[in-house]
Subunit: 333 residues, 2 copies
């Protein structure tokens, strides 16, 4: 560890919210020490790489930090967990100055403070492209059980929180698709904020767990792909109705066509909303719980026997789900 790395770490640490009461030893020792808070812990790790998950310039540096942490936390929200700690590895290219790296830290600190997360450890190293890896730890709440992807049963309803397609639409706006100005400023702002400031749905995740959700997943790869993950883990088939998808505001206007907007909502990904499988008899309770939080829960399909996933339009035609391919490195749209 060099002096420069050391100073940068100190400046990053001082930006973060103060450590939570579960921390016995926070950032700066060989490892951070935590006294367990829940009956079980949920842990996930997630990486974003410049040129693969975002492009510089064009993507605000604060948004890189915000999104990296929010995306990792979203996995915990999808289990109905409480957020706990985050551990962050920052790979810094020589092309970025220290003040630019600190802007990445500012974005991360913003999300950590808002979500009540302690950034308990980290690592800074040189890298050929800006790279952020975030490991997040969440806690099972006493008297509840974490919800996996694996409990869906035939007959269950599939429901999503919020609206879909906004993040993919926001990326298209950032890429200049709306340069003729079809959208109102507010719509443009809503779409781009879905791309640049995604929100882990902790409150909805807990409410859905308490309302008996049998399986949950967060929508990072796109509804089609993620419903497929849930179906595979649960050994069932997911059927999605394209016409039922709740569309992000401005999406139809942006694409100039409702069908295209619906396909983007089905395949675009990165909305970080939750998809839950819920027993039919408890759907109303779940809708009421999520609406009580100021949110929205929409039935988008059902669980049946079989395997795989289908997305059908009103005529029964099959729609090909398209996901964002992080190995190929190409954005959706």
């Amino acid at each position: 560890m060099s002096g420069g790395e050391f100073d940068l770490i100190a400046r990053l640490v001082e930006r973060m919210p103060p450590p939570g009461p579960q921390m016995r030893v926070a950032s700066g020792d060989d490892a951070a020490v935590t006294e367990p808070r829940g009956t079980a812990t949920a842990t996930t790790i997630d990486t974003v790489v410049e040129g693969v998950h975002f492009r510089l310039p064009g993507f605000p540096l604060e948004a890189v930090g915000r999104k990296a942490l929010a995306a990792a936390l979203s996995d915990l929200a999808a289990m109905g967990a409480d957020p706990g700690e985050a551990y962050v590895s920052l790979g810094a290219p020589e092309s970025l100055r220290e003040d630019e790296l600190l802007r990445v830290g500012d974005g991360m600190a913003e999300v950590a403070a808002r979500e009540g997360v302690t950034v308990a450890g980290g690592d800074v190293t040189r890298a050929p492209a800006l790279t952020l890896t975030v490991a997040c730890v969440g806690y099972e709440r006493h008297g509840t059980e974490l919800v996996t992807r694996a409990g869906a049963e035939p007959g269950d309803v599939l429901a999503v929180t919020g609206e879909l397609g906004g993040a993919a639409g926001g990326l298209l706006v950032l890429d200049g698709l709306d340069d003729d100005g079809a959208l109102r400023d507010r719509q443009r702002a809503v779409l781009t904020s879905r791309q640049l400031d995604p929100r882990p749905r902790f409150a909805a995740g807990r409410a859905l767990a308490d309302a008996g959700a049998r399986a949950m997943i967060d929508l990072s790869d796109g509804l089609g792909a993620d419903a497929g993950h849930l179906a595979r883990a649960s050994a069932v088939r997911a059927e999605i109705d394209l016409g039922a998808l709740p569309l992000g505001e401005g999406l139809v206007g942006l694409l100039g066509d409702e069908r295209k907007a619906r396909e983007l909502a089905a395949g675009g990904g990165e909305d970080f909303e939750l998809l839950a499988a819920i027993g039919h008899e408890r759907l109303e309770e779940a809708v009421t719980a999520v609406e009580g939080l100021g949110g929205r829960l929409t039935q988008v399909g059902r669980v049946v026997q079989g395997e795989g996933v289908s997305i059908r339009d009103a005529d029964g035609g099959e729609v090909e789900p398209r996901g964002f391919d992080h190995m190929r490195g190409s954005p959706p749209g």
Copy 2:
């Protein structure tokens, strides 16, 4: 997540040792779920990047995986913790084929199996250079307390496990320094294995904790730099005797000069031995405990009032500690 990424993850997962009994949900869900094992958890995150921490070709791919996991685990060993789980993010450049990436996984699986670690989660993404980030979780043993860097007191003895300089010497061998063949094959093998297959010192860390070590740190940046970290955290001064350092076998032969060998042992880093501050009255007990494990514990200095670190030779001359600068990206030597 693409099909290709998905297949690669499945092939990596099947190489890993089976999950430990603490895992309620292992790899493959939104997050891994662990039932807490100890009274507290220690968590650390560490990244290695091609071109910064190792070079391809030249560095065996298995060694990249081994070293990334061992280096992260070493932080837990330095607290006297038991190893628990690892979470791994693999950044894969297009230049590496799948079978090459699997060799990285094989190296990691070898260390995980040997150390009793569950690789409980992971992430694979495209990256411009081979990048491995490992977050590791360890557990405080019942009836003991994790040892931080912060408890050293004036009057304490500073002692190191094992031998120093071997990893830096091994890197020089790999870089061709011994091309005239001054070393015996066995010495060359010992030095390169210190570079390519470092061992987290869990047993020694636990023994030192039980023998009353007041502060510990693992030697990743080099004895000089790491003694400085310990001194800073403990608000004391560390004094190191260059002549007391236990040298890795073959190091003098490799450098052709004992003084150079001692400087490399003081500054080279990556030995992943432990440096402990121990009350004088308990040193003998600690030495006996580490020797009982087949290891070695050597007094290399002392803790005094003040700040910073000094390394002195037999004439009292100050030696400049040199560490491996991960931000600059230059190897030691």
